[in-house]
Symmetry: C2
Subunit: 262 residues, 2 copies
Amino acid sequence: MIILKLGGSLLTNKEKKFSINRRVLKRIASEIKACEENGKKLVVVHGGGAFGHPLAKEYELNRGYISKSQIKGIALTRKAMQDFNNLVVKEFIDQGINAIALQTSAIVTCENREIKSFNHEVVERFLELGLTPVLYGDVVLDDKLKFCILSGDRIITHLAKILNPGRIVLATDVDGVFDKNPKKYKDAKLIEKITPEIFKRNKLNFESYANDVTGGIEYKVRELLSLAKLGYNTIIINAKIRGRLKKALLGHEVVGTRIEGE
Amino acid sequence: MIILKLGGSLLTNKEKKFSINRRVLKRIASEIKACEENGKKLVVVHGGGAFGHPLAKEYELNRGYISKSQIKGIALTRKAMQDFNNLVVKEFIDQGINAIALQTSAIVTCENREIKSFNHEVVERFLELGLTPVLYGDVVLDDKLKFCILSGDRIITHLAKILNPGRIVLATDVDGVFDKNPKKYKDAKLIEKITPEIFKRNKLNFESYANDVTGGIEYKVRELLSLAKLGYNTIIINAKIRGRLKKALLGHEVVGTRIEGE
């Protein structure tokens, strides 16, 4: 079984609210389908991109409850994520994938932004039936803060520990992790492998990366390193390049950043 | 708190796959909003109508697992229900209701079509935050049959016992329960009140009603009578008549069928 994270900035145009990259999404769906035809099972998680992020930011949802006006923000953010997820599931089904949306906020609760309960049974049982569960970053209930934002990255980290996947693939719109932000610096170099040791030794210039509402690249790498320590290796790839996702899903050698335990 | 069921045939055109009665939906949303402005809190549940029913029937989903081809049917039915629910939530939000979709199949499991587990905490907590949860009939996991169809009626019966609502309103496209099918028989008479005693005494001609995938009118009445025995009275009304839903939600006298305990 493979856990696949589809980055929000891969599937949407972050500069433009509620805009989907339909062409990219369609191709990605076809590469996933090709992988399933090779007998692989997948659990897919996608981010918020141009749907969830602008609203979550506007209503400061990740701070938890601070004012009554946020309640409207919860409704709008959840609605936007549901719209986004619907578009993703539609393309998957159109490509012949038996995809099934699973609402993160209905199966997960947090405490101080940490996952407290996760009804993973529903994910496992739909997977076992032969469906492809599709989860997503969402506004979830929080025992301390009343609510918070749960990122897609946090979901895959948690699911990996439960589902014991053979492979974890993070599909983004860049080739992997660079020594500085490749969108800003022409001389940025791709780091092909990060281990806890390499991470400690090299100071990566995370400040040059833009931070989104869910913590950005540094947070992502730290989460994945914690997984790597448990033996779950990840590869971060650029799924904008045709065929790369399919190769990565099938375990072939591809350009990207491998995050591995020692 | 009020539990409101919106019938599938009220919101959709059952003769035409995936067609919504947008004008009716919009007006209903505005009547719900007016009720909320009177300080009432609601939990809303809607049926499958022209979205879920045709697919659930085509793939025989309510029989549980009988063949592999049904897996595609699960994906298509869930997708259709998600689309339907999205349209409902969108109209609610447009009318100023802080609606939040809650995926039934993510929070409920069945055993032989009976509800086995129901994560009602998520419904209660979002309600407490000031949101209006919107659930719907769905394909859910079943411990015995692998999966089954859970009707909106079954959901409200279960939720009523947990949430202890002050009122239960079933909004349909007919004035209530008749002594025979009002769509077929001109001389059909509205039954204004059904109690367990009246139900036993009068043989209602349920055979003349069309049966849908979730059991039709007889099933509905039986479910509501079981609620009435516990002290939860229901009113079935015709929400196609402008203003009737609002009146019923506010507890005013309206045309309809009251289902009450002795």
